[in-house]
């Protein structure tokens, strides 16, 4: 591949006088799991919203599979949006639709050629793929547990078999066992479907288990390195993050090995 799957260059965002990003660069390669880390209020969500095309940045380019979404609108933007899948922090399942209908919605919107019976089967395929029991298909989001909501959201994100997947805090609100299960599921799917995953997370367990490279937002820019490299970055926030009490157990493992 000539271009990275996702390339952000010189991104700037500001609200009023508050500068969130100032010349942020980020590059995500094919088949990797890229973690985005940053303190509260450093603009992780704003970055994700910019990449998803939900919000126009002040300056900079954002290329998804080579298409600069800051230059696109209407049908062009819609076509790019069909190429990635995304799960939101709270799941953001449509509460008026059951899980099956939730998974089918992207298919209905982007693949109208699909016959209803084929849609049913493909949706069931995705529901099974994420490890949900079949009877979850007819349940409404309000009837699901937290872990099931995350899985259903993942099934919906995979509805159109995207190669690029964005996960916003996929393990937040889950107990450690469910979170670990979700990590394994994500890794399994990433390998099987050859996905490129971009993941915003605070979960150190998750980062050390799944990420190939990590981008940390500090001082309105992004510091990117491999997982092994980023822990030695001199920036004080990064030091504090990766060398705090909670991270020590992982560092022993990575450095000891």
């Amino acid at each position: 591949m000539i271009y990275p799957v996702l390339e952000v260059h010189g991104l700037s965002n500001r609200f009023g006088s508050q500068v969130v990003h100032d010349g942020l660069d980020m590059e995500v390669h094919e088949d990797e799991v890229f973690g985005i880390v940053g303190g509260s209020g450093t603009g992780k969500s704003v970055l994700l919203r910019s990449i998803l095309g939900l919000q126009r940045p002040r300056a900079g380019t954002i290329r998804i599979e080579g298409h600069d979404i800051t230059q696109l609108s209407g049908g062009g933007l819609r076509a790019v949006k069909a190429r990635y899948g995304v799960t939101f922090q709270q799941g953001a399942l449509y509460s008026a639709l059951n899980v099956l209908q939730n998974v089918q919605l992207p298919m209905v919107e982007h693949l109208s050629a699909l016959a209803p019976s084929a849609r049913d089967e493909l949706a069931m395929l995705k529901i099974r793929l994420v490890g949900l029991p079949a009877d979850a298909a007819r349940k409404y989001p309000a009837e699901l547990s937290g872990g099931m909501v995350k899985r259903a959201a993942l099934a919906r994100a995979l509805a159109l078999d995207p190669r690029l997947l964005f996960l916003d805090e996929p393990t937040s609100g889950l107990d450690p066992i469910s979170a670990a299960e979700f990590d394994e599921l994500m890794l399994y799917l990433q390998k099987q479907l050859r996905l490129t995953v971009v993941m915003i997370t605070h979960d150190l367990d998750s980062i050390f288990r799944t990420c190939n490279r990590v981008g940390v937002i500090v001082d309105r820019r992004m510091e990117t390195d491999t997982l092994a490299g980023i822990v030695d970055h001199p920036n004080p926030w990064i030091q504090a993050y990766f060398h705090g009490e909670r991270a020590s157990i992982h560092l022993k493992v990575t450095h000891g090995a």
Partner: protein, 384 residues
């Protein structure tokens, strides 16, 4: 082209090319459907020129393979079958491995059919269910009123528990900000009455009674009724939506867990706020209505202002005003209760929030009009 088909001695050779991905499903589907299986005993599928194959593509390929096998053909892959096909097969295999024969891939469609669908309800059952729901609703409303009264009585000895600041906020939100729309509607209503009655009364040479109709109509009935209906639409819905989204957000639970009674903190201030603001809004509507009558009488009937004022003072008495204004607090309680009660009932989903907000407004307007009818009968009986 996504499939190249060649006839061979014993059947077909298929060469898959290009990107077999979800977004190109229409082309894949058409191409595979167009493959003529007639007389084919052996189908060879080559996948080495395939640029990409995702699950949707693999699923469609599997459908084709099954279809061909069903038609009696032998299907083989040149080289190993693609991984994605294996993944689809694995995913479709029943999760319960013990019960599963190696090739008993359960049909997903069948599985879907077996799932319980929301049951169809027979008419009689439907009526019965609605009756029970209605009955429970009434009990619920009564319980709500009871708890509200108990909270109010409990709060009376200690004025701080009445939350004056919160009440003030609701007086502002439901009252002050509603003045422009209430004034406009009151003006237009008095114009309509004046215009219509002038047309009718002119035939009898009794145009002067237009003044009576406008003032009595607005003061006794229309001023308070229309104000209440506007407020039901504005504030009844706001109460239901506000409290409902707080319920969804677990804010109500948080209050309760902090030891704050949500009735005291959320419901009572809204009810009391509206009880203060609706009568005040009614006074505004009454005033504007009388002014509107004056404007129209002057322009339509060429009635001088002093004659209008003179006639107004003859037509109405303090009772006319009080007969209207006394209804306002009652309407206010009904509207606020419908809104807050429905808001507190929200649970689960945003769909519920929408449904209950609608119910709140419809119910508030209905209750206001019903109460107005009862007042009319009551006033008639006691001769006011």
């Amino acid at each position: 082209m996504v499939v190249e088909v060649r006839r061979t001695e014993r059947g077909l050779a298929l060469e898959l090319t290009g990107e077999w991905r979800a977004l190109s499903f229409p082309q894949i589907d058409t191409a595979l459907a167009a493959v003529d299986l007639a007389g084919a005993h052996r189908i060879e599928i080559a996948t080495d020129r395939l640029a990409a194959l995702d699950l949707t593509g693999a699923w469609r390929l599997r459908e084709f393979v099954q279809h061909a096998r069903h038609a009696g053909a032998e299907v083989v892959f040149a080289g190993t079958p693609p991984d994605q096909l294996r993944l689809v097969e694995e995913t479709l295999r029943p999760i319960d491995a013990a019960a599963a024969a190696p090739h008993a891939v359960k049909d997903l469609r069948a599985e879907l059919r077996e799932l319980p669908v929301e049951a169809e309800v027979a008419t009689l059952t439907f009526i019965g269910r609605r009756a029970v729901t209605l009955w429970r609703d009434m009990i619920g409303a009564l319980a709500f009123l009871g708890r509200l009264t108990a909270t109010a009585v409990g709060a009376l000895p200690q004025p701080r528990a009445l939350r004056p600041i919160s009440i003030a906020r609701h007086v502002y939100d439901t009252g002050i900000t509603a003045i422009p729309i209430v004034a406009l509607i009151a003006f237009l209503i008095s114009v309509i009455i004046a215009y219509m009655s002038a047309q009718q009364l002119r035939g009898f040479g009794a145009e002067i009674f237009v003044v009576d109709l406008v003032t009595i109509g607005v003061l006794r009935e229309l001023g308070v009724l229309l104000t209440a209906i506007i407020v039901a639409g504005r504030s009844g819905s706001a109460f239901a939506a506000e409290i409902g989204s707080m319920k969804l957000n677990e804010e109500v639970d948080a209050l309760e867990a902090t030891g704050v009674d949500p009735f005291e903190a959320l419901v009572l201030p809204r009810v009391l706020g509206l009880v203060v603001s609706l009568p005040l809004l009614t006074v505004v509507a009454d005033l504007i209505g009388i002014v509107g009558g004056a404007v129209l009488c002057a322009s339509l009937l060429h009635m001088p202002l002093d004659q209008y004022i003179n006639r107004v003072s003859q037509a109405i008495s303090p009772t006319t005003f009080w007969a209207g204004i006394v209804k306002a607090p009652v309407f206010a309680v009904l509207i606020a209760m419908a809104g807050t009660h429905r808001g507190m009932q929200v649970r689960g989903s945003s769909r519920e929030l929408g449904r209950l907000t609608t119910v709140a407004v419809v119910q508030a307007i209905f209750l206001v009009i019903l109460a107005d009818a009862l007042f009319a009968v009551l006033f008639m009986e006691i001769g006011v």
